[in-house]
């Protein structure tokens, strides 16, 4: 059965992809994020706009193509997420 993902989990997944797949330092394209994030294009676009707006992701525009890179704030969020995910799991809950 498919595992339900909370909004916080989805954000953490996108940020983790942006961090792990950014091997060359030039950011990650939306195709990679879509493939790893397992969601529709329209939903991903909306989420990316929100994440860039809140400063968790940086948008790099190269040759009219948007690429995304995790910001320091995004890294802090991820660290807090994994820490408190563990805490919530102790109570049998999910973030």
């Amino acid at each position: 059965m498919a595992q339900y993902r909370t909004q916080a989990r989805i954000i953490a997944d996108v940020l983790t992809t942006a961090r792990d797949m950014n091997t060359e330092g030039s950011g990650v394209g939306i195709t990679t994020l879509l493939r790893k994030g397992n969601m529709s294009y329209s939903r991903m676009s909306k989420l990316l706009t929100e994440l860039v707006g809140s400063g968790l992701l940086l948008e790099l525009n190269k040759e009219k193509i948007s690429r995304y890179k995790i910001s320091d704030r995004g890294l802090q969020f991820l660290q807090a997420y994994y820490q408190f995910e563990d805490f919530a799991q102790s109570f049998g809950l999910r973030l």
């Binding site: 909370t6 408190f84 563990d86 973030l95």
Partner: protein, 235 residues
């Protein structure tokens, strides 16, 4: 003063155990441990809420905030029986505070059960959970007694869901939380018995000891977070 020698059950507080130990005094001291543990868990959950904005942590923080306030009201009322800490209160005011503390405690357990219910709903295990969800049997007894019955069902549901979560994630911390909650439930059950058999004074002490041991077990996994954080994630 009026508030002196008044307990949650309305019984006389002057009972003393065989060794000359004042049962109510021990109860009051143990209540303060409950206050400390509940507020510590609420603090860690609030810290997590601030950083992740997770609704699950908001419910968890609210649950333990209510529990902490409930324990605090009970502890202060109890302490007032030994040392005067409250201004002179009428019997009605004291009774109101007693009901309020029971209500807070029940609200705390409700939020804990509610968190699990939402988690279950979102993970599409609703049909199974409906079988487990508490069936309320409100009696015509006093409000505090009715609230403690509700509390028991909420804890029971919390225990069942936490054990289910342990079956999924196999984390020792989850098992400890389940054990802590189970002891809280057992304490509430003994509290019922103490209402049914008010002459058996030791039941009142036993219930608070079981509850406090439960709270302390709950505190073990939380301790590392309370002391500044634990990073078990992949970062």
């Amino acid at each position: 003063m009026t508030a002196r020698f008044y307990t949650r059950n309305g019984a006389n507080r002057s009972e003393t155990m065989a060794g000359g130990v004042d049962v109510s005094l021990i109860e009051d001291m143990l209540q303060f441990i409950g206050v400390f543990v509940s507020f510590s868990i609420a603090y860690v959950a609030f810290r997590g809420l601030k950083q992740t904005r997770s609704p699950a942590l908001l419910r968890l923080a609210t649950a333990f905030l209510f529990l902490g306030v409930g324990f605090m009201v009970q502890a202060v009322l109890g302490l007032d029986g030994v040392v005067t800490v409250l201004p002179a209160l009428t019997t009605t005011a004291v009774a109101g505070l007693v009901v309020a503390s029971a209500l807070m405690e029940t609200a705390g357990y409700f939020f804990l059960a509610f968190s699990h219910a939402l988690d279950v709903m979102f993970s599409r295990r609703l049909k199974v959970s409906l079988l487990l969800f508490p069936v309320f049997t409100l009696s015509a007894a006093q409000t505090t007694d009715a609230l403690s019955i509700l509390s028991f069902y909420f804890i029971l549901y919390g225990v069942l869901e936490t054990i289910t979560a342990y079956a999924r994630n196999r984390k020792p911390d989850t098992l400890l939380i389940a054990l802590g909650l189970a002891l809280l439930g057992a304490g509430t059950f003994v509290a019922w018995l103490s209402l049914m058999y008010p002459v058996v004074y030791v039941l009142s002490l036993v219930q608070i000891i079981i509850k406090e041991v439960g709270l302390m077990i709950l505190f073990i996994p939380v301790l590392s977070y309370a002391l500044g954080g634990k990073a078990n994630g992949p970062i």
